[in-house]
Subunit: 255 residues, 2 copies
């Protein structure tokens, strides 16, 4: 049943700066899969439009169409791509390593992502969101499906994160480097197992942002530093356009 | 490398009434795998002891030892068991169905579990926790690894959930039945794919509790009702000892 899907086209709904979108673009690039790009304009609220919600009811990017299949949740998309296009594999061979990979990716999503949002949304959304009228804000928030994202939009529009909250968020993000340093200590190459895996691809967008926000941090974690030098050399890094957070959409697309 | 682990013994750290523990016991039963049972006494705070935290740093049940391997996170344990012991499989054959299964299980964990805790903790922990002195409570909470569980312990000990919060939590839990009804409508048998999967096993502990708390609810969802009748007939249901939440540990163990 899967076989007939192997040749189907991909359409990716995404944002150039979104961490989960970057993760899926990295997976597609490692697999050598091309796709039609459809940018979702978060400031315009396109992710909460009825059209987009009919694709991804969670109202977040990315979403991936594969033929007539609709896929969302970046970690599940990554495993799907590896099941349908097994070579080169982006999952470890060993079942236990796969468990460690899945738990790492979930920890990145549950623990690191809410902390990264503090910085990304402050930088990308706050200037516009503070200009919205109370009525416009209320209308926008009414369309957001999840409680945590409703809260994030309210914060960025009306009660921007304080310096203390940002410091706490950075302390949390640095735990990613600490955890990676311990996991890379096993064989110094990849976070889990014998080759690059979804764990590495999940970490890249976060390490990219930590390095932009706190340029001296990585040097304290030498295994992470050498991993970071290696993953940036891979063709997938440029193919997925993991570039500066300050780049405009036009600049990213011109790469 | 996995082959040598197939014969290794299992030791399960768990609670009889914990939903995640029930999920893992159901997986083990469906696979015909036996294990040594080690109950973790949540009221005594054994899940936050240094010994247990060295097994599961998240400080929650269950954890599974497989030989010298330490496994935690019930959804990842379930996939590990299916990778190491492929028959009978508890994952759909089709890659897209596996994606739908993973997203369903994650939604159950992220959306339904915090709402079920409102009822389970009120029923199982509140009587004892309200008796703890402020000092004892502070000492206990200091040992809890996650912010959300610190909050849950504080709530149950000092600010029990209100009737309104319980009504909101039940409204949320009923969305599980609504979602299952829609998913079962595909072929009326299993939540995803052609056979019982981790999605069904993840749902069972939640439907069990919804049925105990709100006995008239399931009848509104006829596909769920027939699914519920079928899954309770399976040997795994009794082997995993999915029994009344009010049963004592001694009563469960006497089954």
């Amino acid at each position: 049943m899967n076989k007939s899907y192997v040749g189907q086209p991909f359409i990716l709904y995404h944002g150039w700066r979104s961490s989960a979108s970057r993760r899926v673009r990295l997976c597609l690039a490692e697999k050598g899969l091309s796709y039609e790009s459809r940018l979702v304009n978060m400031l315009k609220g396109e992710q909460h439009s009825p059209e987009y919600l009919s694709i991804n009811p969670n109202g977040v990017v990315p979403a991936l169409l594969h033929g007539d299949r609709v896929l969302y949740e970046s970690s599940a998309i990554a495993e799907y791509l590896d099941e349908l296009f097994p070579e080169p594999s982006i999952r470890p061979r060993d079942a236990y390593d796969r468990l460690v990979m899945r738990n790492f990716v979930r920890w990145v999503d549950d623990y690191c992502l809410p902390r990264l949002i503090v910085f990304n949304w402050s930088q990308a959304m706050q200037a516009a969101a503070t200009q919205w009228s109370d009525r416009e804000l209320a209308e926008r928030i009414a369309r957001v499906p999840s409680a945590s994202r409703k809260e994030a939009w309210t914060r960025v529009a009306r009660k921007p994160y304080s310096d203390e909250e940002k410091a706490d968020a950075m302390t949390g993000l640095l735990k990613l480097l600490e955890k990676m340093q311990a996991m890379l200590a096993n064989d110094h190459s990849w976070i889990v197992g014998e080759r690059l895996s979804i764990a590495d691809l999940a970490a890249i967008p976060f390490v990219m942002r930590i390095n932009e926000l706190n340029p001296s941090a990585i040097a304290n974690f030498p295994f992470v530093e050498s991993w970071w030098n290696r993953v940036r050399q891979r063709p997938s890094f440029s193919e997925a356009r993991i570039c500066a957070f300050t780049a405009t959409d036009a600049e990213v697309e011109a790469l």
